[in-house]
Symmetry: C2
Subunit: 441 residues, 2 copies
Amino acid sequence: MPDTQQTAKVALIGLGTVGQGVARLLLEQSERITRQAGRKIELIKAVVKHLDKPRDFSLPSSLLTDDLECVVQDPDISIVVELMGGIDPAGTIVNRLLESGKDIVTANKALLAEQGMALCDTARKRGCSIAFEAAVAGGIPIVANISQCLSANQITSIRAILNGTCNHILTEMESRNVDYASALREAQELGYAEADPTFDIDGTDTVQKLAILTQLAFGTRVHWREIPYQGIEKIDLEDLHFARQLGFRIKLLATAQLLGRELELHVAPTLVRIGSPLAEVHGARNAVDVAGDAVGSVFYEGYGAGQMPTASAVVADVIDTVVGRAALTFETLEPWKLLSHAPLVRDPAAAESCYYLRLRVEDRPSVLAEIAGVLGKKAISIASVIQPPTASENNGSVPLIIMTHQTTAGAIQEATETIAALPCLLSRGVCLPVLDGEPQV
Amino acid sequence: MPDTQQTAKVALIGLGTVGQGVARLLLEQSERITRQAGRKIELIKAVVKHLDKPRDFSLPSSLLTDDLECVVQDPDISIVVELMGGIDPAGTIVNRLLESGKDIVTANKALLAEQGMALCDTARKRGCSIAFEAAVAGGIPIVANISQCLSANQITSIRAILNGTCNHILTEMESRNVDYASALREAQELGYAEADPTFDIDGTDTVQKLAILTQLAFGTRVHWREIPYQGIEKIDLEDLHFARQLGFRIKLLATAQLLGRELELHVAPTLVRIGSPLAEVHGARNAVDVAGDAVGSVFYEGYGAGQMPTASAVVADVIDTVVGRAALTFETLEPWKLLSHAPLVRDPAAAESCYYLRLRVEDRPSVLAEIAGVLGKKAISIASVIQPPTASENNGSVPLIIMTHQTTAGAIQEATETIAALPCLLSRGVCLPVLDGEPQV
């Protein structure tokens, strides 16, 4: 059958790190990709901004073009892989490509998080598909697993480490005892962090990915800006030490939890119990823990970024598109369609958790009593306190670490606001949720 | 679109634990399954041996039948789920169903391992598909992940814990310090182990699953009896203690490793370094570590057996079959077809590994020298030795534990045969491979 079918012709838009990885797989592994797809897949154009830019992987010059039109206008090209990133002009370009009947494969999570709805509507109207395995968790095939492999389940929770840069930085801080600024600088020098790492470290990248997973797993359309998120910028080396003392590691965690007909969503550096699988995800790797009502839980771990892991996901999507699976999944899954059965996003203030508070307070009597008093008034119960032995050169200030029992995000926020106004408080420190914080019986 | 399409009619053969779980999902979660499949899926018959057998989940009596013919002859039934297990008569029945044009979903690893080739040939001839996600690793969707999600990769290795009973027993032995016989008895009492657990504990179940994964990941057709395997029957509590002392846990591991154009395959209780993901898989859970040349590695963990995790996999296959993805995958993947490009199975004697040897020897001078001499003659280098302090009541016998550096399965086997003939040897103990045994730099 394969040899009687037409070659599938593919174009690439963008030839950065991942683009070059995709080109390399499509060109160098043509034989095995043909085998997997049941017919030949041929990369025939790669649209770039600068034709002469030096690249690690050099394509035949006949493939390179800086003219998008020669892709849009070519009816032989059935699949376009968008890897330029960013929202503008990527959104306009993808929309034009869909309008001209091309199936799209993309790794662009920011674009999907912003314009997923409009783009999927266009795709449906034009009978095209959009595949986006590489947009979330890189080499871990979490999109296919949630959309297809776990389809018999009502997904009940997702807990995920989705940003390799943050996980690398936190791992380095903990394992090598370096502070946040040094770990970030080293990550940039090693190429693990971008020159401008803002969207990685402030949680934007993670929350955009969570919005996409939420859409897939629950059918709930939520804009990433509606989800509370915080990054790792305020995590101090001493937080990692105190967390460890309490039996936890700190991970930047994306959480989606179904509670009845409501969905709790947030992204935050979270204390995760040492020994649990999420706590043991080190370096630039990502992980996703998915719970479903039939399957119980499935845990996935792998490289969340990097040239070839991401290219693996992109090329799997190209193969799926050629085979026809992508169209079937797109049709039945109806991504970003307004669905009446989808759970609603819960008021973030109602989210329940134990919390870790690190405050810097005056080193004088009755400070703990004042702070405990504020928590008590909000009915927040204290599970444990660490007040490290005072060093002689403390300048009258000491850290105070409080672990609370289960409370709500709203209550803890009000309490920390009140505490921030106390004269004894020298700096606010951090307030982090604790996953499965109550002692296990 | 969904409402204009015909209802997909499904029959079940076998209504044991998993069958009841599948029936429950199909009947109770009909709405969400319809949503995932894009059209209604209706369970219309369940074929059982005994109509009156009491069952935990009771089906409407109109669905129950003991007459297979009413499924075979019903042209409205397009999908049949085979959950009777075993090879005979399951093989004959599945073949008849395929001949009458039914798509098959099965969890029957033994049947696939024995007759996968013939059944897939029949399916191809009749234009039907066979889906078998539930046959390997239960709730972990490893079949779809290898067949589809990682399709851009040349898979280079698979290391997997595929039998929940064995993993449960080993976990209990280690964590509660109970011996093998007690742990097995408890597992049977708790329902984790079958009344006759032979195929679980002797490695048969694991090696059959490995044969299926080998077929999927490498296209290599190998009968499970051609793969060297051993079970956990000879693992003594002291092996777990000595392994721990050396920094390892013992797991029943299925291994497939691509070496050039050859494939190394085996199943054995294996020493796995504590802290590595496979070593941290506890209780009845399964795990699969897959390496691919693009993706690096992806690690999967979940429930490998049990009613609802297995039903999750079965129903995902039913949905895939209705959507049409199963047919596309079956067509392009060509399972059990003779493929010219597939790697050949390597001579098992050539497999390289470090080994853990536990021997029971006479408690007298020069015994270690004699044994070390035998190993030396086979060019096997010793990495470490544990000879525990002699207890007074040792009856003249002591355990001797030797960790070797890298050697071949052939050399270690010859050496242990020679050692077995030494007068100082009182009992042979065990010889187990060590995963990544050489000290890490």
